[in-house]
Homo-oligomer: 528 residues x 2
């Protein structure tokens, strides 16, 4: 049976979701991540409706992608105009992608009441647009917007709209459940009919307004569809698009069909989380296959049974999607993960080493405070070193003070004063910054540089703030993640406090210590 | 066609979800809420495995329920023991519910490797238990745990386990997809077969590990099942149970079948949120039908179309489930969104009013700076008032100063000093706080309260920080969202700056001004 092609629309339909907005850098990073996962097509924006997207496409064309092909998305030409005079189509060509996805209307209600053109003109708009893009050398995928609602209203017209696209050279006809209100039965029936009628590959684009986006997509695949659209994390208009991570796992494990690349599924957890992280959206920990809860066992009987036979309460193995099992009620949870990392610091560690138990306990305490080490490997390593006695502080804090004021009239708004001690010698320094964290960062490194000149090469590259359990308003707990680099490598650290300055300070100090430990290891191997 | 009975298991399977734990009062409140919604059966706990549940059942029996019947949940008797000697069964009877739900094993793997009894003894355990409870005057619903996995391993045995329950007097056979790994095809096929073979009502209990719990339940209904189990908000082991709110809406609207009560669906939003609130769990705003995002329109074309014909991008009306439409203001949205809101401030505004064009332009400028007004209705309204000349400042900032130092045992880490002027009169005040934003918030409101005493009733309820384009690290642009309430209503404001203190300040000031405008409007209608 033929493989199932996967089109990810995180950067287009996903960006239409509430609370989602991507910078050009975010978009490039998401393209890289999706390519690493092994997605076939990346629908990366609508250059006609969003001029910023053109900048992105210009930069994206320079990326070297291993698997994925970039696609630009746009609508059929406007009414009563030639394609070559249509601004939207010109922008689409300007994006210079090998593939263009064009959406057109299949529902007479939209044609008459929204577009306000005649039914025939709409068919001509579809035909002309597809033919125009084909003539310009593009591969064209046709999205039949509202196909299922259109079919319910006027089935013949809905199929006529598909015919217009097929006859003009579309390579794939995608049936869209744009409003997300369709049931699987209807989706299966019409997929089969479209396949039979046009002999072209048929795709499915489902929304989740009835909680059925994944089910409708699977039903279409069962009926012969070979192209599925969605967004990796499920972002999208209203309740979102079909969650591609769930869909790809189901297609592979439950239907035994090929999709993505042979090595994709074990990367699914990591890359889906990465995309959510770039979007700065909290990950849904109940997400099928990938959430922290997906293989978490709480009820006593379930825990007992899973410890006897894992499949007793697990439909697939957590490792198959890069996730892991969590036993909520017991201390066994996490130990093997900790051991695996501990071995990098102390190769003699075993599951029975007291230090492993100690780290597991410490991690649980920290997690209760709001720490999360998943994205903060450097802080996790420091925590383990401290437990293993493989750590000594590089400096001692005397104190820091922050001064902020407003209005500033062009001046930087914050000053920081930091006093530290290194082996008995004091160093005090002051700095200005744009905000208190910035000032603190500059002052701390100024105070340390005379002892540790290698810090001169280090800089912060990313800074993320998440408010936890935010219902205490401005006194809520804050988690800060800091990403740093020294040119050779990059690392991430974490700090938690009710005070955002302190949370940032904790992460800053970890970052600097991690850098210094790395420097020493490179120079004096026997340090450990 | 017969109605679909709904069993809610929030208090049993839901309570097995990570992070969920209910007090007796919580449980009683949830029973009341589910009864108000019109649920048929409330599976309220497992008195055998959780002794606290017996207290609850004692209190619950005093509730006067209009629609719902309480059910206790438990397992078949233990091996090699008479039912009357089984502690679990004695607790079940002690709960004194009219209905008892009994689960038993259908999967030979569980019988052999988890229970470690013979296949025949397991059948006897099912038969004996059902018969014992029937003899004690209970209505018995039988949950066939792991029915679909059991069928895949040994189909005859899985059906033999159903036969044991049916022959002993169970009134309904519930097929459970306990691990959540089944596809709809299989669920439909086996539901039909069970119906045919036993001539008893058949039910479905689905988990969401493959994202298919709702779809599997609908497929079972299509195949003849007349009893559906789930949890109203979707709580449950791992990825949760079938979300009953989605399921009930689909059964009613999409399949045209009766379930719940005739007046239930418009209460669905309110009661589902109430249950999430009692569980102290954040509501999933992407939830089908009920999330804030479910009828939120962002992309310009969608907004235009919805304002012309609502069904163009809505599969049902938001009011039908007690939800409402939201038109999001965003760079992808356009003039019609602005107009719709502008009309609330100035009813004479039209698409051609210069003020509308001006607001659209201003919005685009602000969005380029990193503002996002989607979630910040109050700031958007202030921006519009300023453009429309329907605004005057309530105070003038002299200056603020912030002093922070690393937190020391028990003391607050920040102090703020705020000086403002109201109609020429100065007010200065100082305050301490847990972090600089907290201190600033307290100091500002202290300075203003003597002029505007109604601010005493106002407080911040939520505080969100997002770092934008965070690749400049600690000098990155920060967007702060603040949610406030005065008891009567809640509103959200936004501030953006490279300095987190300033961003918070902007959002704080908007929040206070919005509150004061609201107060004036309530008192002096002609203010505008």
């Amino acid at each position: 049976m033929s493989r199932i092609a996967v089109l990810d629309s995180t950067l287009r339909d996903g960006a239409q979701g509430e609370g989602i907005s991507f910078s050009v850098t975010d978009k490039l990073n998401i393209v890289r991540a999706l390519d690493e996962l092994g997605v076939d097509l990346i629908e990366a924006g609508n250059p006609g409706s969003n001029p910023k997207d053109l900048d992105f496409f210009r930069e994206a064309s320079a990326l070297e992608l291993r698997h994925a092909t970039l696609a630009a998305f746009g609508s059929t030409r406007r009414r009563d105009i030639a394609c070559e005079d249509d601004e939207g189509l010109r922008s689409l060509l300007g994006a210079s992608t090998p593939v263009v996805v064009i959406f057109g209307k299949s529902w007479d209600l939209h044609v008459k009441q929204v577009l306000k053109v005649s039914l025939d003109e709409n068919l001509a708009m579809i035909r002309d647009t597809v033919a125009f893009l084909k003539a310009a050398g593009r591969r064209v995928i046709y999205d039949a917007e509202h196909f299922f609602d259109g079919y319910a209203a006027d089935g013949e017209y809905a199929f006529a709209s598909l015919r217009a696209a097929a006859s003009a050279g579309a390579e794939c006809l995608v049936l869209c459940d744009t409003n997300g209100g369709s049931l699987p039965e209807r989706v299966g029936e019409l997929t089969a009919r479209a396949l039979k009628e046009f002999g072209l590959p048929v795709g499915i684009h489902a929304h989740n307004d009835s909680g059925l986006a994944v089910a409708n997509s699977l039903t279409a695949v069962r009926a012969g569809a070979t192209h599925v659209q969605g967004t990796l994390v499920g972002f999208g208009e209203r309740c979102g698009n079909a969650n591609l991570s769930t869909l790809a796992a189901n297609i592979s494990f439950k239907m035994g069909r090929d999709c993505l690349q042979p090595d994709s599924l074990p990367k699914l957890s990591r890359i889906t989380r990465l995309v959510a992280e770039i979007a700065n959206v909290n990950f849904d920990e109940s997400m099928p296959y990938l959430g922290l809860k997906a293989f978490a066992h709480k009820a006593g009987m379930h825990v007992d049974a899973v410890l006897k036979v894992t499949q007793s309460f697990e439909h697939v193995s957590p490792e198959s999607v890069g996730n892991s099992r969590r036993i909520l009620a017991s201390e066994v949870g996490g130990r093997s993960v900790v051991l695996e990392r501990m071995k990098r610091i102390d190769p003699s560690a075993t599951k029975e080493s007291p230090v492993v138990a100690q780290v597991v306990k410490r991690l649980k305490e920290m997690e209760r405070l709001g720490y999360q080490f998943e994205g903060a490997d450097a802080s996790l390593e420091l925590l383990m070193r401290k437990a293993a006695g493989k750590y000594k502080p590089f400096f001692e804090l005397g104190h820091y003070r922050i001064l902020g004021e407003q209005p500033t009239e062009g001046k930087l708004s914050s000053q920081a004063l930091v006093k530290i001690r290194v082996e008995g010698e004091e160093s005090i320094s002051g700095a200005e910054g744009d905000g208190p964290v910035h000032a603190l960062d500059v002052a701390l490194r100024k105070a340390l540089e005379k002892f540790y000149p290698s810090l001169g090469a280090m800089r912060l590259t990313d800074f993320k703030v998440r408010v936890l359990d935010s219902h205490d308003a401005s006194a809520a707990t804050v988690r800060v993640l800091i990403e740093s680099t020294d040119g050779d490598s990059a690392w991430t650290t974490v700090g938690v406090s009710t005070d955002i300055i302190e949370a940032s300070w904790i992460a800053l100090v970890d970052s600097i210590e991690y850098k210094l430990i790395g420097d020493i290891e490179r120079r004096y191997k026997p340090y450990l």
